[in-house]
Point group: C2
Chain length 198, copies 2
């Protein structure tokens, strides 16, 4: 394709490799950006550069943040006694949109997998256990995806947790095989409210 | 939504306003960018900044380019005797992907519209007429969308063209109401090859 400029083509190619995009949608986006009033594309680029510079996992929970400790961990109004364990930052965000949970999070970054050689250390499970001791946690909500991998990982964590802790899982509303990030906010809130002992 | 950083949220919001994207796809893209190896997001940002700085309409044909005269206009191997008139840069790119046309282009940037107060000057039609005189053009291909607006504009241009010129339009393969940018490359190539006198 001869679009009249190698940087333009390189930008289209880079955008086309983003999740959910392809060559056609990347072309439309780049043309729209070029067609907007001057400055808008430069603004988006500057914003992206700042995020690239500063975004990192929260040292405590694994949420993405541009501060060392994320605003959720840093918010004194959040309950310290509850930790909600999620697979991904996208899942954390999905739960936050539901506004039903007022505790804190622990982001695993994936699920256990013998095949991919992902063990408990890779998911920060030892770090979760030490947080539970330090932060006087009373309840751990295992909000993992309702997939085989998610539930296997949830069972592993439940077994590793100390005695005397309330351990719950999301219950009602999560469809079999469903992924949290694809649920509507109402369903995810209902599932959290109706959480059951694991 | 509390995502742990205002720049991150601002980037998601800005991405969500791009054509074809929404909040969910923007979140997935931003998370994917943050999750990639360091440097990739900064590279994308730098590429975007360069395009924002340099991309502009070609002074001759209206194609987007990072040079004053686009590579198509500047390519001595392209035939000077044929000009293909298109509505948008996206349409020009679609024709280029078909690789069937070896002449040059003229991008209108839209269609005539009394309602939106878009007249011949806004579409560069006087500039097209002076190019036809200067560049010794023998054939003008009116490759506008097969919509009412596209065909009205095509008829207006055909009437304004000097006598003795071959004036053709894309024929076979363009569905009624269809837009060029959505056609597959084979169809657009067939339509160009089977072009008829207008
Ligand atoms: Zn945190
Ligand atoms: Zn040009």
């Amino acid at each position: 394709m001869d679009d009249g400029g190698s940087d333009i083509q390189a930008l289209i190619d880079a955008m086309a490799r983003l999740p959910g995009l392809g060559p056609r949608s990347a072309r439309r986006i780049v043309l729209a950006l070029i067609g907007r009033r001057p400055g808008q594309m430069a603004q988006l680029s500057a914003l992206m550069a700042r995020v690239a510079d500063h975004a990192r996992p929260c040292a405590r929970c694994g949420n993405i943040s541009d501060t060392e400790i994320c605003p959720i961990c840093d918010d004194p109004r959040r309950q310290t006694g509850e930790i909600c364990v999620v697979e991904t930052v996208a899942d954390l965000w999905a739960l936050e949109r539901g506004r039903a949970f007022r505790g804190r999070y622990h982001v695993l970054g994936g699920t256990l997998s013998a095949l991919d050689d992902i063990g408990p250390e890779d998911l920060g499970i030892p770090r979760l256990l030490s947080r539970i001791a330090k932060e006087e946690v009373q309840e751990v909500i295992l909000a993992l995806n309702a997939t085989v991998e998610g539930q296997t990982t949830a069972h592993y964590i439940a077994d590793a947790l100390p005695e005397g802790l309330r351990v719950t899982g999301l219950a009602q509303g999560v469809p079999i095989g469903g992924e949290l990030d694809y649920l509507d906010d109402g369903t995810i809130t209902a599932a959290l409210r109706a959480r059951r002992n694991f």
